[in-house]
Symmetry: C2
Subunit: 349 residues, 2 copies
């Protein structure tokens, strides 16, 4: 965009009497300086209650609202952060989004939402993310090193949520999927389970692959091998179909099914009860991961690993905004342990 | 904001060689006009595949991305729409948001998300919504006539999702809550139910109050009066506690409980089974409203009214964007009927 055209548009917008009062008008009417007006509208700025009241009254009378977009051209801060999510209709990501929105709002920034049908569809929206001049990005989807470099070149900090890149230093906040899965396997094995089956997350889910790797590695250490793994899509039907597949492959039902998330565990429990007449946990132990709302419903009472979502969201926004304000900070990963929840869907020693 | 300061900031941003290539640079390199470059980056604009390829190659080589924010000062279009939601952690609104995001993305606009702890907290974010110069607003929360007038004065169209104002002409897309509740009552009554109880949505939920009104009005027409109504908060625990309250007030269990949404119906079913040992639907019929994902899980198989969310989201974005492009259009309400789902949680004739 040529600067003359833009500057003239800005001038026109500013001169249009119909359009909006300026901070200058407000300052005149309130009898204060223009910078006092700015401070009153800046989230978190220090200003006396009396001053704020005076300015706000003048602003109301004139119908003035600061133009956050025009301001962003001066401050180079849009106060927008992009949140990249896939799978919003799962039960987990809405909880993540809600926590992120809450934490962002406390910092005076707003969330611009980018939802992808699948994690791997990121290329379709990357261009859009850049166009909106966001201050930073929370990526709860996989990004390639090349995609990450695109943000780097524009000095837009990125914090990964529950994933990271193996050989590239990045900012990330993760629940320890690997450790959580290993601990779950240890508990099930100690309680006497030996015939294990796994219903895993999709292959393009980093989180799901970490959980799978943790479970299989620990099982192997304990001498349990050739564990059948059925890939799922994190939804209820994957849990139902997963158990059917496991029973088919193993010829008889397993005694413990490790599911890649809670919703698949719920589907697996329903299939055990309604399709196979198997008591859970009497005949079959089923465990999940996440600690979503329905995991505590009386019909399920899942044995699971709960992710500390609120703390994870807080850490994510903190890491991100620290880097928006101070781009020189080195990459940092924060790994939070999940909380083992001893529900009633698994026999434990 | 004084126009000189803004114009000079724009000029600085445009002149910074480090910062970004302009559309002029891309046009030069691709050997096309600057307006051709603009068209290639405008969602939905007509441009030949050959032209697009040529421009995109040049843009890639120069690391050019259009600045959506600067452009919005010229076009007076930010291509942002605000979505105001409360209760994101319920099971229903994430599905709404996901459908809205999908439909918005097809129109080339992005969603700026505003989540409120309660519907009535709108005043806290209204100012923020105005500052971001959004093109339009989808309100899935209650707005007062005064709040609506604030948007009107700034010529920002608003479409209500599942609510409206009774005495003010507004744009709205609604599922017919009233009709859906009446039809549900008729079916339950025809099947012989006479001892009704209601677990209703919160008092500040317009949707919940419509559903309640529909149910009570139809019950009264059928000669069923003095129906106990327990207010809930749309969550699982409200369903559990609601049934406990009903049993206490009615001295013995009702034969049908009408719940203000599916999640409360799920809580009510679990309480019936696990706390009172009542078979559902053998001893107690429980019905919901919404048709959320878990309503079809085998443990519940809810009898409910499913809202046609996809069609509602499409209608919402269509109404909104039509008014962004043509502000003179008169207010319009679209009321879509819910779909009766005969699950297995109620005895029906």
């Amino acid at each position: 965009m040529p600067k003359k055209k833009l500057a003239s548009a800005v001038a026109t917008a500013a001169a249009d009497p119909d359009r909006r009062a300026t901070s200058y008008d407000v300052a005149l009417r309130a009898g204060v300086s223009q910078s006092a007006v700015s401070r009153c509208f800046k989230p978190g700025a220090s200003v006396s209650a009396k001053m704020r009241e005076r300015v706000m009254r003048a602003a109301r009378e004139l119908g003035y609202t600061p133009n956050a977009i025009a301001r962003s051209l001066i401050t180079r801060r849009s106060n927008l952060i992009a949140v990249l999510l896939s799978n919003l209709t799962s039960l987990y990501y809405p909880e993540v989004l809600s926590e992120l929105a809450e934490q962002a709002s406390r910092r005076g920034v707003r969330i611009l939402l980018f939802t992808l049908p699948r994690e791997s569809d990121i290329d379709h929206v990357l261009d859009q993310v850049l166009q909106y001049q966001v201050d930073g990005v929370v990526a709860a989807v996989r990004l390639s090193p090349a995609q990450l470099a695109t943000f780097d070149r524009r000095r837009i900090p990125v914090v990964f949520f529950n994933r990271y890149l193996r050989d590239t230093p990045v900012n990330a906040v993760c629940c320890d999927q690997f450790e959580g899965s290993r601990a779950m396997v240890s508990r099930l094995h100690a309680a006497g389970h030996r015939r294990f089956g796994v219903i895993a997350g999709p292959e393009d889910s980093v989180v799901g692959q970490e959980r799978l790797r943790g479970a299989l590695e620990r099982l192997a250490e304990l001498g349990v091998r050739d564990v059948p793994v059925i890939p799922g899509s994190y939804d209820y039907d994957s849990g139902v179909n997963g158990l059917h597949e496991l029973v088919k492959r193993m010829r008889r039902p397993p005694d413990a099914v490790i599911c890649g998330n809670d919703v698949m565990a719920i589907g697996c429990i329903d299939a055990a009860r309604f399709d196979f007449g198997l008591d859970v946990p009497g005949r079959l132990s089923v465990v999940g991961f996440d600690g979503v709302g329905p995991s505590v419903w009386s019909s399920y009472r899942l044995t699971t690993v709960r992710q500390p979502l609120e703390r994870m969201a807080e850490a994510t926004i903190t890491l991100l905004m620290d880097r928006v304000e101070n781009p020189g900070l080195p990459p940092e990963k924060r790994v939070l342990s999940g909380q083992f929840v001893e529900g009633a869907s698994a026999k434990l020693a």
